[in-house]
């Protein structure tokens, strides 16, 4: 290949999807220029530990990086970090950066991720109200987690609960306020919600369900002093964490006229409405051949799977995205591993008991396993991965009988 044939692929965003794409292109010996433009000063890093062992101070910042920065550079990939992309000019195939430079692309990959959903309520701009999305957020929160501090967490989803588990270990007084009638309602079934509720209560977290927040009470010097509730009460707070979900980052794509629908719309090859622009990860509303309808997923597995699909597309191979999504969470001594999406199930089968240290919930629809949540039972997750991917029809008795070998079902 001569220099004149060398093209430039620019990746916008420096998160997990972008990092996985860089790695896959390296592994596949992609011959073109690759430039990553990331707003944070860090090379792509693992976000899951932010609410877990990184917040607890158990791992170093450098260990979060998918790879040391030098590895990409040694391989000829460029990282332009600490720079924001301001605009995409599709006619001239350039992007304008916050340092006023422009960059030419032949192919552009949007991996812009998401941003936290803010709680707009009276007092929401007080000092001491935190959000958790990146390393800087986590560093800021961690230094406040000293014994005896009163931390109030708004939102009982993954992030809120993982932070609760990390903070209580450090001697912080933790209260979790959840508007719904159970924890993690969006992502799991009632058995798992009840199990995690009991875990957090046993650890000393004050978990309050059916508790809607109306705003924040001010203390001295513009600092938050409490969280006000719909029932008229107030929960005193030294610090607050609001963890009520994320919003896909679509502003650049929308401004460039690319189709968006609560996410940048892409097909099963990660293509947007512009043949020279792909999009991957949290920012996308995507087609995955595994599902009947378009999906938006906030997960590492989706980020890396779409990154691999995009790498194939960039290299002229057509490998559609067709894998079942999976997730994990660690809270206390609980290893939760999940595969599939359970929302449309018509039957739940429990294997073991939620009183046990290990058990699993299988979610079925019309007799087929569509999702599995496994607690300290990795074999159920691994079996589940295959049952879900292949839409296996399995009898509820075989799933629930602890004497029956799960592995025989595959």
């Amino acid at each position: 290949m001569t220099t004149s044939e060398k093209k430039t692929t620019v990746i916008v965003g420096g998160g997990h999807a972008a990092g996985a794409l860089m790695t896959t292109l390296l592994q596949k010996k992609y011959q073109h220029e690759v430039v990553l433009v990331g707003e944070e000063p860090h090379p792509p890093y693992q976000r899951p530990p932010l609410s877990k062992n990184y917040l607890a101070g158990e791992v170093e910042q450098a260990s979060l990086y998918l790879k040391p920065r030098a590895v990409y550079e040694k391989a000829g990939q460029q990282l332009r970090l600490g720079v924001r992309v301001e605009q995409i000019d599709r006619d001239n195939k350039t992007i304008r950066l916050s340092d006023q430079s422009t960059l030419k692309y032949d192919q552009l990959v949007l991996a812009t991720g998401s941003h936290v959903r803010r709680l707009r309520a009276p007092g929401s701009d007080l000092q001491g109200i935190h959000y958790l999305h990146d390393i800087a957020d986590t560093d800021a929160l961690r230094e406040k987690l000293v014994p005896g501090t009163r931390l109030v967490i708004v939102g009982g989803g993954y992030i809120g609960l993982e932070v609760a588990a990390s903070a209580i270990k450090k001697g912080v007084n933790v209260t979790v306020l959840e508007a719904a009638d159970r924890l993690m309602q969006r992502v799991t079934g009632p058995e798992m919600s009840a199990f995690f509720y009991a875990k957090h209560i046993a650890a000393g977290v004050d978990v309050r369900l059916n508790t809607a927040v109306t705003g924040f009470e001010a203390g001295d010097q513009g600092r938050v002093a409490g969280v006000t509730l719909a029932d008229g009460g107030t929960v005193p707070a030294d610090i607050v964490l609001v963890s009520i979900g994320v919003i896909p980052e679509t502003a650049l794509a929308e401004a460039a006229g690319l189709p968006c629908d609560d996410g940048i719309v892409v097909d099963e090859f990660t293509r947007t409405g512009d043949p020279d622009i792909l999009a991957i990860g949290d920012c996308t509303r995507h087609r995955n051949l595994f599902f009947e309808k378009m999906q938006r997923l906030e997960s590492v597995a989706n980020a890396v799977d779409q990154a691999r699909t995009a790498a194939a597309t960039l290299m002229g191979e057509e490998k559609p995205y067709d894998s079942a999504p999976w997730f994990w969470s660690n809270q206390y001594d609980v290893r939760l591993q999940m595969v599939g999406l359970s929302q449309n199930h018509d039957q739940r089968v429990l294997r073991g008991s939620t009183e046990d240290k290990e058990f699993a919930v299988f979610y079925l629809r019309e007799g087929c396993v569509i999702a599995v949540d496994a607690v300290n039972l990795p074999v159920a997750f691994m079996v589940g991965k295959q049952l879900v991917q292949h839409r296996k029809s399995v009898s509820a008795e075989a799933l629930s009988d602890p004497g029956a070998d799960l592995k025989a079902l595959v």
Binding site: Q46, P49, V71, V300, N330, P378
Partner: protein, 106 residues
């Protein structure tokens, strides 16, 4: 401080250097060795860093934990000396180790 030899399913060899205190998975990822995904970052949560350790080295890779054993028990291509790379710490004892990679990860 030492070296690890990764051998892809098609016999392509990658001779890599490592520092003590990391894991076989991280060394493979840092060197962009194809065939190792390590999607969960080393939490023993995903099962995508399956490796088959050369027989003579297997005894030096430490014990297989319960979670790792459960994950491996469902891994296609499992061999007698299979490990999840994220669960094998790099120590001086494995300097020079040869590790084979399966054709596919889960």
């Amino acid at each position: 401080m030492g070296k690890i030899i990764f051998v892809e399913h098609d016999n392509t060899e990658h001779v890599t250097e490592f520092e003590a205190g990391t894991t076989l998975m991280q060394v493979a990822v840092d060197n962009a060795v194809p065939g190792i995904d390590g999607d969960c970052g080393g939490e023993c949560a995903c099962g995508t860093c399956h490796m088959i350790v050369a027989d003579e080295w297997f005894g030096k890779t430490g014990a297989i934990g319960d979670a790792e054993e459960q994950m491996l028990s469902m891994t296609p291509e499992r061999a007698k000396t299979s490990r999840l790379g994220c669960q094998v710490k790099t120590t001086e004892a494995i300097d020079g180790i040869t590790v084979h990679l399966p054709e596919f990860q889960m």
